[in-house]
């Protein structure tokens, strides 16, 4: 994948070319992908273009980009601030439903409202511009994050994980029962909301350069690479910027040693809440991108616990805390999940004549779980680890090594310090993710079925 080869050495590149290196590189990659599908592939002969389209269809690229937004959001919470969140799907769901409320004609609303929307002016329902809805959903999710976080972020470690897990389920159940809440249809209940507006292309569409609406047609899908690519770019930009400032330092500090951080004047609850809110903001945007750009419909069955685990896997597998690692992790896993496993099955079938094409995707969570176990055994720090974590995983710190010769009191202090160290926390997060992946395998039938429905 072109994106992979570029992003593998972001650090060296940045040092050599200055701060503009990654934005330029990123734009080049996205433009390359766009032109690959827009002009290059159609002009090539079928034997060349067919395998590319089979292994990496445009729809899959869009899905990968959408998941990258999610992974980047969860990375702020898990990777930067070290808070294990097992209910991240809640924000994805709320973002999706926000799109449902503001970009569709859900359940016979009696009033119509249009705001910079590309759809016909006389269409019934609420139709608001995609970008505005992104912002609204982001803010709504950030507020939900604050509401969920305020009581729970006082908890530590495992307790926080359990409570977030609960909240993730609560939100899904809320939408499942939303057909009749105190007599009102809030979000369509089990069937959810369908025919959400596609993304409009505004002036580009008016000029005839791009299609007016980015539907799931071939032309629309190719243009979505640019739109979703832009969203991912914004998320990467925000992630990198925020990481370098006052808040990013405070997140790293609480990830490493909460107590010491609070003793240095870092207000723990406030800083954690901000991590939660920023992560939720990304999650909301991911939800809108998914609802409007990928599925054009939202229903409670799409927001199962498995999705939370999937995003967590992307973060852990890619390399917690490293923006590029997480992006690659998201690409890899969502590719495997949506198309890769199927293609691998097809290839194996060609030799064995079996039916792995259908069965392999059904065992996606088993395979992802195995992948994670292997990662934890051989490359605990993730595909592209954060520079710091790598140092931790590969070499004992000086005091650790020196403490071997120290007296027992100091040795004890060291073990204590080790318990608080990042490695332990990371391992715990990864460990629970692995456990969850195992349990998620049970639900894989349902979710992969739902995904196939979405793809068709």
């Amino acid at each position: 994948m072109a994106a992979t080869t570029h992003a593998l050495h972001p650090d060296q590149g940045r040092r050599n070319l200055g701060r503009l290196a990654w934005p330029i590189g990123y734009v080049v990659v996205i433009l390359f992908l766009f032109f690959l599908y827009q002009t290059i592939l159609p002009s090539l002969v079928k034997p060349v273009s067919a395998p590319v389209l089979a292994w990496l269809p445009v729809a899959t690229i869009n899905e990968c980009l959408m998941w990258a937004i999610m992974a980047l959001g969860l990375n702020v919470v898990v990777g930067y601030a070290g808070l294990l969140d097992l209910g991240y799907v809640a924000f994805w769901a709320l973002g999706g439903y926000t799109a449902g409320w503001l970009m569709a004609y859900p359940f016979n609303w009696t009033w119509d409202f249009h705001l910079f929307s590309p759809v016909r002016a006389n269409a019934p329902g609420t139709h608001i511009n995609f970008w505005l809805v992104c912002i609204v959903a982001g803010i709504l999710c950030a507020i939900l994050g604050l509401i969920i976080g305020a009581p729970t972020l006082r908890l530590r470690g495992d307790y926080l994980a359990l409570v977030t897990l609960g909240f993730g389920e609560v939100i899904t159940q809320f939408f499942r029962n939303s057909g009749n809440i105190a007599g009102h249809n809030v979000a369509g209940g089990d069937p959810g909301i369908s025919s959400i507006d596609p993304i409009g292309t505004g002036p580009l569409g008016a000029l005839g350069i791009a299609p007016k609406l980015l539907t799931n047609s071939a032309a629309g899908n190719i243009w979505k690479i640019l739109v979703l690519g832009l969203l991912v770019g914004i998320c990467i930009f925000i992630s990198l910027r925020i990481r370098e400032g006052r808040l990013g330092r405070a997140w790293l500090a609480i990830r490493e040693d909460e107590l010491a951080a609070s003793m240095m004047g870092v207000p723990l609850v406030r800083v954690k809440l901000l991590a939660y809110a920023v992560g939720a903001f990304f999650g909301g945007i991911g939800g809108v991108a998914n609802a409007s750009g990928i599925t054009t419909a939202v229903s409670p069955s799409g927001f199962d616990f498995g999705k939370s685990v999937l995003v967590l896997l992307m973060v852990v597998l890619g390399g917690m805390g490293n923006v590029w690692g997480v992006t690659i992790g998201a690409f890899l896993l969502s590719w495997l999940n949506s198309n890769g496993l199927k293609q691998i099955g097809v290839q194996i079938d060609a030799f064995t004549g079996g039916n792995l094409e259908a069965t392999l995707p059904r065992y996606n969570y088993v395979i992802l779980g195995l992948l994670l176990v292997l990662m934890m055994l051989f490359r605990r720090e993730g595909l592209i680890p954060e520079g710091r974590t790598k140092a931790l995983m590969q070499m004992p710190s000086r005091t650790e090594a020196e403490s071997l010769g120290a007296d027992s009191v100091e040795a004890e202090a060291e073990t204590d310090a080790l318990e608080h160290s990042d490695a332990a926390a990371d391992a715990r997060i990864a460990g629970s993710a692995a456990a969850m992946a195992g349990s998620g395998a049970g639900t894989s039938h349902g979710s992969s079925g739902a995904r196939r429905k979405e793809e068709s």
Partner: protein
């Protein structure tokens, strides 16, 4: 702790009789209100000093004042009715054998534990119910007995974390990188480097904290604490693991901090030789109660203290005491002092 009451009273008499350096009301350091303000009426045990009756308001006169602190964990009284004060621009110490309640008391000062009874004042303000991070930003900085740096952050970042409460940039201004945010970051970076230079590890700016040597880590902890612009610097066993040369340098450093920056320093130490040389005043805790308080000379000659370290509580701390014939003058004096008092007893 009531069983020790008579002993404490005796020891007090002992101290005042045997001289040491009793506080005269004119003595500015003494007038700063050591001891309890109204311990006579509260009927508590422990030392009651003449200075307590001089009428100086201990809350206003001290940078930090802990008023009759008691901490109970279930039925166990870890700290029993201890008052403690840190005058401006001073170097004071809290000592005591293992389990004396030093660290517990320290944690009440920093806000990690809430005192069962009593209150803490910082710069005249009651901070008894103020959260630790708020206390830190109000000027109460500490280091840790077992170093607790942010190992995977660079030395510079470690120091900058402590500036959190002094910086203003929010989420949006960090993302947009407004001119104000840039200036703030630049200034914070400069201050961090300056502080690293100040503690003598300016070369390590970009090193991960975990890769620094033990001594440098201790220095970095102090630099980090100083980034809070503290009024009081609480150092928990700062010389643990230092060699004699390093701890000698450390003494100079503590005085520099006090004189150049106007910061009061509170030390918790096992190591008597360091404490005796460096402190202007020493408070001794044993089994949660304050058993003595005064200048190093007072303490050196105090019967209670000697018993706490060598007698009653056994020789748990014996190995920490300087050995006879140590080549350093201060240590020799300490030993002498303790030895003579021991024989007198």
């Amino acid at each position: 702790m009531s069983e020790s009451t008579p002993g404490v009273r005796e020891s007090l008499a002992d101290v005042t009789q045997l001289g040491g350096t009793p506080n005269s009301p004119g003595d500015p350091a003494g007038a700063a209100g050591y001891g309890r303000p109204d311990s006579a009426e509260s009927g508590v045990d422990g030392p009651v000093r003449a200075v307590a009756q001089t009428g100086v308001d201990p809350v206003g006169a001290n940078v930090l004042f802990a008023d009759r602190i008691t901490i109970r964990f279930g039925g166990l009284t870890a700290v029993d009715n201890v008052s403690f004060s840190i005058p401006p621009r001073s170097v004071v110490s809290l000592i005591g054998p293992n389990g004396a309640g030093k660290t517990t008391f320290f944690n009440v000062l920093t806000g990690l534990y809430e005192a069962t009874e009593g209150s803490v004042y910082l710069d005249g303000k009651d901070i008894t119910s103020v959260k630790p991070h708020k206390r830190a930003s109000m000027g109460l900085a500490r280091t840790f007995q077992n170093i607790r740096l942010f190992g995977l952050m660079t030395a510079e970042e470690n120091v900058m974390v402590a500036m959190h409460s002094h910086l203003r940039a929010g989420v949006i201004s960090t993302i947009v990188r407004t001119p104000g945010q840039r200036r703030e970051e630049r200034e914070a970076r400069d201050t961090a480097r300056e502080l690293l230079d100040y503690v003598g590890i300016g070369k390590t700016v970009g090193e991960l904290a975990r890769n620094l040597s033990y001594g440098d880590q201790r220095r970095l902890e102090i630099a980090r604490a100083m980034a809070l612009k503290p009024k009081v610097l609480l150092l928990d066993e700062p010389t643990a693991g230092m060699n004699p040369q390093e701890s000698a340098n450390f003494n100079d450093f503590v005085y520099r901090v006090r004189d150049e920056r106007g910061i009061s320093v509170l030390l918790i130490e096992h190591d008597m030789s360091v404490i005796m040389k460096i402190s202007e005043r020493i408070t001794v805790l044993d089994r949660g109660a304050m058993i003595a308080e005064g200048t190093p000379d007072d303490i050196r000659n105090n019967q209670q203290v000697i018993e706490a370290y060598l007698g009653k509580t056994g020789t748990r701390e014996g190995k920490r005491l300087p050995k006879p014939g140590a080549d350093q003058e201060g240590q020799a004096v300490t030993t002498d002092g303790l030895a003579t008092k021991g024989t007198q007893a």
